[in-house]
Point group: none
Chain length 121, copies 2
């Protein structure tokens, strides 16, 4: 995983870059549920950043339900909850996602296409 992480000097806080890049890796299926990911210290040393910075990213990812932190054992990609075909929930998420896409200047159709492409990968 470490080789896929790249921090840039573009004004975005390090912990945000780390958090979002790990989220993206999970979304792409590079990191799968149950997988163990590098320890906070490994990430800190490899990326030459502070342990506290990594902890912040990991902690946010745990709160968001992406990771499971086990003291003394390591960090794992969270087991996703059972998929329910609840359309209302999907609608709420879709609204949020549409706002994100708009902010980044991505057309809804392009996002839909990219999501479909992800499924095939």
């Amino acid at each position: 995983m470490l080789t896929q992480l790249a921090l840039h000097d573009n004004g975005v806080p390090i912990y945000v870059q780390l958090r979002d890049q790990i989220t993206a890796l999970i979304g792409r299926g590079v990191l799968k549920p149950g997988m163990r990911i590098p320890t906070m210290r490994e990430v800190a040393v490899e990326l030459r950043i502070d342990l506290n910075t990594v902890q912040r990213a990991y902690a946010e990812l745990e709160r968001a339900g992406f990771l499971t932190l086990l003291r003394g054992r390591g960090t794992y990609v969270a087991q996703p909850p059972p998929i329910r075909a609840r359309k209302p929930d999907a609608a709420v998420l879709a609204a949020k996602v549409a706002a994100l896409a708009k902010a980044e200047g991505i057309a809804p159709d392009d996002l839909i296409a990219a999501l479909k492409a992800l499924k095939r990968a």
Copy 2:
């Protein structure tokens, strides 16, 4: 242009969001060379942020060659804006979004369906 800007509370500094969203608008051709864009004060009032914050974004965009600032007259999209105008990457957003859906237990197909429904609304 103002209606196309949306700031989020996601840890990314406001001036970075503003800067990147404007470069995306230029990259997409929504803002064309020679066009006048809103004054710093207009942006500050509309987005309810500080004038200094807008100034920072505009100043960085000028240094990067995207904008031309003319005192007393306003701000214009630079005559040939850099070729390196940032093009939004739908795949990156899709990866993040897929992870969000996974964490909430929403099937990708349901999210796609909900996004399509939004378009019709």
